[in-house]
């Protein structure tokens, strides 16, 4: 699974493979990193033996991010995995009502490509916009079938989280 994480001012692409037999492969920005051991303990505490050092980190899940306490410092991290990014695009906002369905950006990012045109009929699950967010390309797909009424963005544009991208009839 590929994740994208924003910790403080820095963005990381983190790939996790395996784990089913205890051997977990982790790549940080394409570089393999050896995790010797890690254990989650009570109170959201994570013990992590990695790259020759051991750390204890309290990791708390919040609404939109994780609060990581490391060396008595609070570092806020936003985590998005590839699948969820697609899913949240798929779900969009206004799920359930087809009328006036709006595709909104699930996270801040850069619009790479708009795959539809105004007036175009779209099937549920069809790709609408490709955006780069947190170092990953994500295809945002339609949660409903419908007709494109308005395209609010163009390639090269950066968008904020929840910013409307495409509005349907």
């Amino acid at each position: 699974m590929i994740y994208s994480a924003q910790a403080g001012s820095k963005q990381f692409k983190i790939e996790i493979k395996g784990g089913d037999n205890g051997d977990l492969e982790l790549k940080l920005d394409e570089q393999p990193i050896k995790i010797d051991r890690y254990e989650f303990e009570a109170n959201n505490s994570l013990r992590l033996a990695i790259g020759g050092r051991t750390a204890e980190i309290v990791v708390e899940k919040n609404q939109d991010d994780y609060h990581c306490w490391l060396n008595s410092r609070l570092i806020k991290c936003e985590v998005i995995d590839e699948k969820s990014a697609k899913y949240s695009g798929l779900a969009g906002s206004g799920q359930g009502s087809r009328k006036g369905y709006t595709l909104a950006a699930p996270m801040p990012g850069l619009i790479l490509k708009v795959e539809v045109e105004v007036g175009q009929k779209v099937e549920k699950g069809q790709g609408l916009v490709i955006m780069e967010a947190m170092k990953m390309e994500n295809e945002l797909r339609s949660a409903h079938s419908g007709t494109v009424k308005e395209i609010k963005v163009s390639p090269g544009q950066t968008v904020d989280k929840n910013q409307p991208l495409i509005i349907f009839d």
């Binding site: 910790a7 977990l24 008595s72």
Partner: protein, 498 residues
């Protein structure tokens, strides 16, 4: 022989714990008081008995004199230790304790009252030959009078409230044009903050150090000074780092300041532990600032360099015993430094609240931690957000500071933001290391904590991703649960988070 076998501690937090420890060392039983918010506090846990004295807000609990006295009477305590803050410098409380037939572990009410009135204190100090900052003894009544004083002592001056401290009702005047405006705002601020709009004027010392002398007096006429504490590192007019001895005080200056402090204590008929605060200018001239008629927050640094347990000594003195030392016995040995660890934003210094989800105190050579918390404890909105006092000591200042840096690194607190990063940065500052400090140190040398280094951010990102990964997988693994606890256990141990 001590007069009491049971003492009530009219305080909370680390200082209540500190006093309980001294009592225990002396074989004295303790009674804690607590508000409803403090039912599970460390001081309540440690005391032999505990009495609830009201709801969380301190005006309804820790500040209610009658509740405290009633608790002492009902438990058979013979003495009350007020700690610092709350009722500790309230002359009326000291009197009420006395009238209830109990012993107040602190100075006589008359000494508290006199030193509490800043102008009366100043006048008394001048009479006893203790140097005071040039300025007025009587309150300023008009702008005209203000001008006359300034012409005599020169700019800049400080307009100060007579009835209180903490920076309220205080104005620095740098130019004659500002007099009217500054005077007006100081008077109105003093009136609304302290119910007393009297103000006075003194010479403003631009780069002062705050150095205070610890004194101890008994009822037999003995009064000694226990050396100085350098408390120049302040934010929001509150000390955050204190040390003993001061980097600029030598033996001759210590004696001069010590003797002035003893004169100040004698001038108000002082008994027990007290602190005389001085402002020291660039030339080493010192001026009386005020006297704190209680045990100071920062008393541990004096304990570390003199070897005297000050709370034990307070109890002995209150019990009528003579001081256990003479002036000649007092030797300052080595160096000690204290960092006050607060739950507060390290950039804005605004108080923070929350639960201590992870809490581990540092230890090792030369480290002492005075705290009243534990892992899982709550830092609430009701009280001072002091978590602990971290004290490092060693053969000299360099060693003490190195140990402090080590301890600040080891200190683990999660769940509440603290000023640990602030302390780490100050302890790494070159000017601080050279002892070149003044009360303006923070505004001149500190602009907020450093960003975490990239390695830390990396680690945090990996941790967050592992947590996220695990939360997704645990949904999955529940679905194919085998039903066997042994297998589940084996999977958990073998697969860790898978």
């Amino acid at each position: 022989m001590l007069k009491f076998d049971k003492i009530l501690i009219a305080n909370r937090g680390e200082i209540a714990v500190r006093i309980i420890r001294a009592c225990r060392d002396l074989g004295i039983k303790t009674v804690a008081v607590y508000s409803e918010a403090d039912r599970y506090s460390r001081h309540v846990e440690l005391a032999d008995e505990a009495i609830c004295i009201g709801p969380p807000p301190s005006v309804q609990s820790y500040l209610v004199m009658q509740n405290v006295i009633k608790a002492a009477k009902s438990t058979g305590a013979q003495a009350v230790h007020p700690g610092y803050g709350f009722l500790s410098e309230n002359a009326e409380f000291a009197r009420a304790v006395d009238q209830a037939g109990l012993t107040f572990i602190g100075p006589p009410a008359s000494a508290i009252a006199m030193m509490g009135d800043k102008m009366a204190a100043r006048a008394a100090m001048q009479q006893s030959g203790v140097p005071v900052v040039p300025g007025t003894v009587d309150p300023i009544e008009s702008e005209e009078q203000c001008r006359q004083v300034i012409e005599k002592i020169g700019l800049p001056v400080l307009i100060k409230a007579a009835g209180g401290g903490g920076g309220k009702g205080m104005r620095v005047v740098h130019s004659m044009d500002d007099i009217e405006r500054s005077l007006r705002s100081a008077v109105s601020e003093a009136g609304s903050a302290f119910g007393d709009s009297r103000v006075y004027i003194e010479k403003y010392i631009s780069e002062p150090r705050h150095i205070e002398i610890q004194i101890f007096a008994d009822i037999h006429g003995n009064c000694c000074y226990l050396g100085e504490r350098e408390c120049s590192i302040q934010r929001r007019h509150q000390k955050v780092i204190e040390e003993a001895p001061s980097p600029i005080v030598d033996q001759a200056m210590r004696r001069k300041m010590g003797e002035a402090a003893v004169a100040a204590a004698r001038a108000c008929g002082y008994i027990n532990a007290g602190t005389v605060e001085f402002l020291v200018d660039g030339t080493g001239e010192f001026y009386f600032l005020e006297m704190n008629t209680r045990l100071q927050v920062e008393h541990p640094v004096t304990e570390m360099v003199t070897g005297i347990d000050m709370v034990v000594e307070q109890i002995r003195v209150a019990s009528g015993l003579p001081l256990s030392f003479t002036q000649d016995d007092i030797k300052i040995s080595g160096h000690a430094i204290e960092c006050r660890i607060y739950a507060e934003d390290p950039a804005t210094f605004l108080p923070a609240v929350g639960k201590l989800k992870k809490y581990r105190e540092p230890s090792g050579p030369g480290i002492r931690v005075d705290s009243g918390v534990y892992e899982g404890a709550e830092i609430s909105v009701y009280y001072d957000p002091l978590i602990a006092k971290l004290v490092a000591s060693g053969g000299n200042r360099e060693i003490a500071c190195a140990r402090m840096r080590r301890a600040l690194k080891e200190y683990t607190i999660a769940g509440v933001v603290t000023n640990l990063d602030f302390h780490r940065k100050v302890l790494e500052n070159e000017k601080f290391a050279a002892g070149k400090i003044s009360t303006h140190f923070i505004e001149q040398n500190y602009s907020g904590p450093d960003d975490p280094d990239p390695k830390e951010l990396q680690l945090a990102a990996i941790a967050a991703v592992l947590a996220d990964h695990r939360s997704k997988r645990s949904v999955f693994s529940h679905a194919k649960s085998t039903g066997s606890r042994w297998l589940e256990y084996g999977r958990r141990m073998g697969l860790r988070a898978s």
